[in-house]
Amino acid sequence: MKKIKINVALAGNPNSGKSTIFNNITGARQHVGNYPGVTVEKKEGKVDFKGYELNIIDLPGTYGLSAYSEDEVVARDFIIKEKPDVIVHIVDSSNLERNLYLGTQLMELDIPLVFVMNMSDMAEKNRQFIDYKKLSDLLGTAVIPTVGNKNLGTDKILDTIVKIYEGKMKIKMVEVDYGSEINEEIIKITSIIKREKDLISLYPLNWLVIKVLENDPEVMSIVNSYATASEVIAQKDKSRQHLYLHFGDNIETIIADRRYGFVSGACLECLKITVEERHNLSDRIDKVILNRVLGLPIFAMVMYLIFKFTFTFSEPMVGWFESFFELLSSLAVKYIPDGLVQSFVVDGLIGGVGGVLGFFPLVLFMFFAIAFFEDSGYMARAAFVMDRIMSKFGLHGKSFLPMMISTNGCAVPGIMATRTLSNKRDRLITMMVTPFMICGAKLPIFALFIGAFFSAEYGADIMFIMYILSVIIAFVSAWVLKKLVFQGETSHFVMELPPYRLPSFTGLLLKMWERGRLYLKKAGTIIVVISIMIWAGFTFPIKEAPDSLTDEAAASFQIEESYAGRIGKFIESVVRPIGMDWRGGVALIAGVAAKEVVVSTLGTIYSLGEVDAEAPDSLKEVLQKDKFWNPLKAVAFLMFSLIYLPCFVAMAVFYRESGSSIKWTFFLIFWTSVMAWGAAFIVYQGGTLLGIGV
């Protein structure tokens, strides 16, 4: 027999322990996805209870339900459109007032609402005693105390949901009394909207009316498509004008005031605070961590730790994957006869899947480290410490981490790390500039050209200048994006500094695993497909090399004749002004597969056969002897490599993380190409004019 499904939405403030409750309820039966078209995470899970299948949706944590942030729109759209059977409002008991404010808005959605007083032990520890019975009477619904991190009260939540669903528990939601002045206007608007039968069958009437009165942009655009629109708008404007004159303040503020009034009233009756603690443990920790002198060094240390953890601890795992795929390749070489099939399996298929899995440990380890600092409460502090510098360039205090993970590390986990940013603008700008940092895979290109054209004593200096340049380019780029592309879109830093908490280990593991899985599933497939396409671009059309050529020369001949080679020649006129010929062009095209491939491709083109990207001594000599190259061209080439397109793995992740936005992905491609060409052009032409390095 098929089980009856009950849809349950978990709502609540960020840091209310909502995820912990979600994990307690669903255990490992959960998965993370994305809401279509937006950058917001969607978490869903299932649990069987008393013969029902409870389908739990963990809504994004929000403080309110207005239409201004993506998170809030997603949360309220879900409730209004999907109409879950029960809403569970997870409340941080030690912060009752602000948490219940969201509750006053959930109460207006015409869906049975249950209050879960989470972290009830923390409240008592802070000497805040809540009379749950009284609160339940006041709110007209069930109030369940829980302790999420000890898994206390979980069954009680499920039990209550089922009872409400079966109708065994009657609830009679109370409503905020907005006062006679506002109520009169509510009645006027209601009388008009009521006539739109279709409209009120889709949305809760009460909610619609209040949102109209608040002039909510989304709701107004819904109302606009109905016949009574002009009447509604006229009445709305009249009501707002009237209330403004009466209160001397805008209506949104008055409504918020009434809601807080309701909450304060409830708290006054149900909450007893015996001793108000002046400085709790969190405050004392902050005295050190946010200290004027120690704040920045501690920040630097934590960032270093995350970096170290991501790249050093994942190394063995990366190594296992590498040897595993090397073994597979050697088996393929051994058992599949030479030719196209072997080349496809080794370079296309195994290369592609290996590429995906090669980044997998990085993604896992990074998300574990980030989750630890996020759940413990430090990430908000890190943003607090760094925001002064970052905000000058249109970035956010939290933008620092993704950029740092990318530097000497990798832009793939870097772009994924932007998940810590909640504002869409901040997130997109950060994602857009993160690939400019010099990632680990760009290093071999720099080592090759600097080694070939500059004496050892300047090598380190030039490398250092390149690092500085990458940072400058990223920041200037962010600033330009803010001014040109995201003009008018605001971002703010009004952010809670949650109390420090010890993260739960299972919670961290779940977060790590779910996000890792998301990477494999969403980005992985794109990566394999593109990897095969790149392989084909360098393999076809197959031209028979003249017999007189050595194997190495034949390989070079094949590249020149391939589609990629033809594209390289085709774009030669484009890259000539920046001091490159078709060989540089082809190498850079190949570099889209992975940046270190630039080096090995140059090796093949210069007929050197297999060149080890880590120790390209033979290639160095060839480049030095080649009349075409000179130090200026080398620097221009490096400038271009520094800035141009991120590798396609990073682009695939960018595509997914931008809410599967083709528009933004193409913009990224355009933006990086133009910037790279411009910078290389300035270097090459400027250098030529001044006669430097030629």
Partner: protein, 82 residues
């Protein structure tokens, strides 16, 4: 004495008298519990001087100085030396 929130020094307290700014920012303030009559205490300033950390309704909130300028408060206590 009335001041803007960004002008308060550490450990100074104030009662919100008005909030200004773009609709989105006002809405955010309201969501976070900053309404007329709310008591605010400036707890800390970031190591680089901005943003600031305030205590309100028993929790900590950070905001940039150019956001805090939109909140006017009645100062409740004199500046304390620390």
């Amino acid at each position: 004495m009335e001041k803007r929130l960004n002008e308060l020094s550490i450990n100074q307290k104030g009662k919100v008298t008005d909030i200004y700014g773009q609709q989105e920012l006002i809405k955010k303030f309201l969501d976070m519990g900053i309404i007329r009559g709310t008591e605010i205490e400036v707890v800390k300033v970031a190591p680089l001087g901005d943003p600031i950390d305030i205590k309100i309704r028993g929790y900590h909130l950070s905001l940039r100085r150019n956001e805090a300028v939109n909140i006017s408060v009645m100062v409740l206590n004199k500046e304390e030396r620390i």
